[in-house]
Structure formats: C-alpha cells, structure tokens
C-alpha cells in the first residue's frame, strides 16, 4: 500500500468511528426521549 | 433509651434495583412492644426487616433505629444491638454450630464461655460439635436463637420464627420473645400465622402493596 493509502485508512477509522460514535449517542438520546414521552 | 422510641420511620421508601419495594412507611415502635407484621408473599416484609436492621438504605424519607439515623455512619455502631433471624439461616454450613457461635461471639466482643450455656438454653447442649450443614433446619434455627441470646440485643427481628420449629422450640421462642419485651427491648415478628402472633403481640401492622395499613 502507498503511504497515502495508509493515511486514508487511518483517517477513515478515526473520522468514521467518531461520526458513528456521535450519531449513536444522538440516536440513543432521541429514542430514550421518545420512550419517556419527552417531546420537547 | 428512656422513653425514646426504638424504631421511628417516617415516609420511608425502599428501592431495590429499579423497583420500588416499600413506600411511605410510617412506623413507631416503643420499648416493650411486640409487633406482628403481616402481608402477602412478596409484600416486602423481609425488606422491611432488613431496613429496620439498618442493612438496606432508605431511598426516601427518614428513619431512626435505636437513636441512629439510617443514613448516617452511626448505624454501624448500633448494629450489634439488633438481632435478626431470617428465613434462610445466616450460618456457615461448613462450620459446627459451636464454631458458628464462636465466630459471632468474637465479632460482637462477647465471651466465648457463654456458648455452652446458650446452646443448652435452646436445647442444643449435645450438638456443639455438630456440623451446621448436616443439622436439620430446626436445629439451625435454634442455634440462631442461641446467638441472639448470647449477644445482648435491644431489638429482635424475626422472619417466620415458627417455621421448622417443633412444639418445644416454639414455646422456647415465645418465652424468649416475651422476656425480651419485659427487659425493655422490642420484637418485630413477620408471620402468616395470625392467631399465634396475636396471642403474644401487643399490636400488629399489615403490609399491602409496599405500604403499611
């Protein structure tokens, strides 16, 4: 693999997982809010 | 000790995990009282006893037992004066009845020389070297009563004390209960046998849906 391929791989892991982590928190906040009837 | 109630609960609630077991319990027990505690299976009777024994923390309300707040560290100081016999024996099956008592005596700072005497008092004079696990449920019960005799308790909490006991033992237990009340202590008895309890109790309370009625 070229150096840029490694860099692309690393950045996909870093930024990709950050987005997944943030979105999972957002989704859990939303579903928990729904389930306790908080529609604010 | 003079005049102050031994147990004073106001608005106490208990949660275990995510479920509310007891709510809004108001209860006052004075010296010399024998109180019967009734309730259906799962009404929270055992939890109520553990609450009064300071072994479980109240989630709501305020509770005082033997002058100690149930949420303050003082409760560790008064535990030695509370005796409890639950429906599952709190003894180690690998050890003999004598060794179990010796263990409790050493924790409580009581002279171990009292052990033969209290075992004799509950009719277990010959069973001191008997392995607890190999003894019958009734004998384990008797050994627990011996423990409560040995450690000087002000408050006695009994969960179904009559179960597994024979005729002689029941008389023995009732004698012990009445003597404790005469000495200025208090006894709370959880039971389903209303007739038997009403014969010795000064009053009774009922737990329904986690609340006293």
């Amino acid at each position: 693999m070229s150096q840029w391929a490694w860099v692309a791989f690393a950045y996909t892991i870093a930024y990709g997982s950050l987005v997944v982590f943030a979105v999972s928190i957002a989704v859990r906040i939303r579903t928990t809010r729904r389930s306790i009837g908080d529609t604010e | 000790m003079s005049g102050a109630p031994l147990v004073e609960l106001s608005g106490v609630g208990v949660r275990i995990g995510s479920s509310q077991i007891l709510r809004d319990i108001d209860l006052q027990i004075d010296a010399g009282e024998i109180v019967g505690l009734f309730g259906a299976n799962g009404a929270g009777k055992t939890t109520a006893l553990r609450l009064i024994a300071t072994l479980i923390r109240p989630a709501q309300g305020r509770g005082m037992v033997l002058g100690a707040d149930l949420t303050s560290p003082d409760r560790y100081e008064i535990r030695r004066r509370i005796g409890m016999i639950g429906h599952v024996p709190g003894i180690y099956p690998e050890m003999t009845l004598g060794e179990n008592l010796r263990y409790s005596a050493r924790l409580a700072g009581v002279a171990t020389t009292k052990i033969p005497e209290v075992l004799a008092a509950v009719g277990l004079a010959g069973a001191i070297d008997r392995t607890a696990g190999a003894s019958s449920h009734g004998m384990q019960r008797r050994a627990e009563f011996a423990r409560e005799l040995m450690i000087d308790r002000s408050l006695l909490l009994l969960d179904e004390p009559h179960s597994a006991l024979d005729r002689d033992a029941v008389d023995l237990v009732e004698g012990l209960i009445e003597r404790k009340a005469d000495e200025g202590g208090a006894v709370i008895i959880v039971s389903h046998d209303r007739d038997r309890i009403n014969a010795i109790a000064s009053r009774s309370v009922e737990l329904t849906g986690g609340t006293l009625t």
Partner: protein, 244 residues
C-alpha cells in the same frame, strides 16, 4: 433538571467545525522528511491518546468527588468520561497499529506506552462492564467510583513498571525539555490543532453523553414508578374454581 435536559445543538456543531479544521490542517501541512505522508497519522493518533488519558483522569476526579459528596452528578460525569475514554483508547490503539505497520513493518510492538494503553483499555472496559450489572443508581455509583479510583491510582504503577520493563518507543514528540522536536510550524499547527479539536470533540461528546445518562435514569425512574406493579401487587388472592 429542565435546563440540563433541554435539547442543545451546539455540541454537534462544535464537533463538526473542529473536525473540519483539524482535517484541513493535517492535509495542508507538509510531508515529513523521514516519515513522508505517514506523519499525518500522528495528527489523529496523538490527540486520541491524549484524550484517552484526559478522559480517564476526569473519570478519576468524578469518582473521588462522588465518594466525597455522594452526588450522582459526579458519577454521571465519571461514567460518561469512561465511555468516551474507552472509545478514544481503542481509537488510539487502532491508529497506532495502522501507523506501526507501514513504519516498523509490524502491527504491534511491545513498547511501554502501547502496552500501557492496551492495559488501560481493559481496566475501563471492566469499569463499563461493572456499570451494566445493576440498574440501581446509588449502588452502581458507589461500586463504579471505587473501581474508578482503584483503576486510576494503579495506572501510574502500571506506567512505571511497564517503562522499566521495556522502553523502545520514540521519546514524546511534543513536550521535551529542549523544545518541540517538530520544527516545521505547519506540522506543529496540525498537531496542536488536532489536540485542541479533539478536546473540543471530547467536551461536546461529554455534554451529550451526560444528557443521555440523565434521560436513561429518568426512564428507569418512570418505569419503576408507573409501569411496574409495586411489590405485593404481583400476588393476588387465588381464584378458587377457576382451574378446576
């Protein structure tokens, strides 16, 4: 309570903006004379590792504060930080391995800092596993905070023992007595920018994660208060004749 559960969007915006800046900085900075373009992995690896330590330090502070004050607020901070910390520890390890493979030719080396990070990962994974074992907020907070303190106090010991055991890793790249090792201002900007951006991301994630714990606790409270029958009501009088 109300202000804490109000929907707040600024954390999401802050995460997006700071990541965009960090990404741009790390792309426009020049390639290293020795490492080439691989040096760019450092701009995400070092900030992740830094955050792992910061997050676990916050867990330690939250745990100690809980044990002293017995206020669940501190426990929620400790819990949120531990979860984010485990995530960043995992990320730092994954990125470190991705860096090690093209640089040293192996995925894993037994140098002190890598080993320490892996051990930290498991300590706090255990912390999170412990938190899952009970719904009781007070019980959970008490147990978890003791583990939070134990884990954090053990880390320096693990650190020193592992360093004595083996030191192969390159010396710390940023903080050194003789000034930063990285001379190029753009590279330094990318590294510091990454650290700052990831720290903003951490703070933003913390805000949202604490909000989530609040909501989850409220959910448990509501379920115990409303939906589940109070103990004793589950048992009713037997209905004679119904089964015969």
């Amino acid at each position: 309570m109300q202000s804490q559960t109000r929907i707040r969007r600024w954390p999401w915006i802050a995460i997006g903006l700071s990541l965009a800046v960090a990404f741009t900085l790390s792309m426009v900075s020049p390639a290293d004379s020795v490492q080439g373009d691989l040096v760019r992995i450092m701009y995400v690896h070092v900030p992740s590792a830094w955050l792992a330590y910061l997050a676990f330090f916050v867990t330690f502070i939250g745990s100690v504060a809980y044990l002293i004050t017995r206020s669940l607020r501190w426990d929620r901070i400790a819990a949120a930080s531990a979860e984010i910390g485990v995530y960043f520890t995992g990320l730092a390890i994954a990125l470190g391995m991705t860096w090690a493979k093209p640089t040293w030719g192996v995925w894993w080396t037994w140098d002190a800092r890598l080993t320490l990070t892996a051990i930290m990962f498991f300590v706090y994974l255990g912390y999170l596993a412990l938190r899952r074992t009970t719904d009781d907020q007070v019980l959970r907070a008490g147990r978890a905070s003791v583990l939070g303190v134990l884990g954090a106090i053990q880390i320096p010991l693990v650190h020193f023992s592992v360093i004595w055991w083996r030191t192969l890793h390159q010396p710390p790249s940023l903080v050194r007595p003789d000034g930063p090792a990285i001379q190029d201002p753009m590279m330094l900007a990318a590294l510091i920018g990454g650290v700052v951006a990831f720290t903003i991301v951490y703070v933003s994630l913390m805000v949202k994660r604490i909000e989530l714990i609040h909501l989850e606790d409220r959910k448990v409270d509501m379920e115990s208060a409303v939906e589940r029958p109070v103990a004793g009501e589950a048992v009713t009088a037997p209905e004679l004749g119904a089964s015969s």
